[in-house]
Symmetry: C3
Subunit: 108 residues, 3 copies
């Protein structure tokens, strides 16, 4: 068995209404994100951050979660790029630490 | 580009049979969790913790995963609240660290 | 309320074409992984690490994500076991830290 060297990356989990999928993937592409995976047909519930108590999603909305692994250097530009969208639309971005075996797949 | 301040939260990933969805979302609502996202139509396999070796899920069971981002202070009450359920039913809860840009969406 | 003792584990998120599901679950079973959850019908895009710039997945491919919580001791053997597969096929494995309340469900 060979020792596997793991490399740290950041995972973004972007949850938003499915109708905005192209906006989000275009933004990821333009920022230089090399890949993403999309989980479809989610449901959810939440309150809107700016107008607390208002429904963010109805149970019936079709949500998607876009999962992308990116270098640390892309986290701030991506969050900044999505900020105007999330000022006007519902959804969230979770940022977390992951490790991957093959850094080349994720670096521009 | 503005610097984005990130705030730490805990992510709960609750995997259980779809028939128990309402029990779980009711528990989250009553605990003050402000939102969650549900991934449906999962499949899975596992052994039951109390009776090792018995099947936890069959390949054919319809499972769901409920994803919720909560403040640290809610983790113990939620795990405690789910404990009797998972004593009697199959499933798991994963707890992990995430960061979010907008804390207001997740705090009561 | 009882204090819940949490135990650290590693979460593997294995994203690959759905046609290779059995290969992956067989490998997990043989390595002693006690359970996993499969998210189906994903879509995605990415470039291949070995041949940068080539498409890893087309938007139309049916991808799956296999989620498994494993003890630290299984991470290297599993990454090692999947390495020849990912040398020849598209896909990724994300490794991250999680905590669980019931260690017995995840240990051989």
């Amino acid at each position: 068995m060979n020792a596997i060297k793991l490399h740290p990356l950041k995972k973004l989990e972007i949850i938003l209404a499915g109708e905005h999928k192209e906006f989000a993937t275009d933004l990821l592409d333009r920022a230089g994100v090399k890949g993403y995976t999309i989980v479809g047909n989610l449901s959810g519930k939440g309150s809107h951050g700016l107008y607390g108590g208002h429904l963010m999603f109805n149970e019936d909305d079709v949500l998607i979660m876009i999962i992308a692994a990116v270098p640390q250097s892309l986290v701030d530009p991506l969050l900044d790029g999505f900020q105007p969208f999330f000022d006007a639309h519902s959804g969230v971005i979770f940022v977390s630490d992951i490790q991957v075996g093959r850094l080349a797949k994720f670096m521009a």
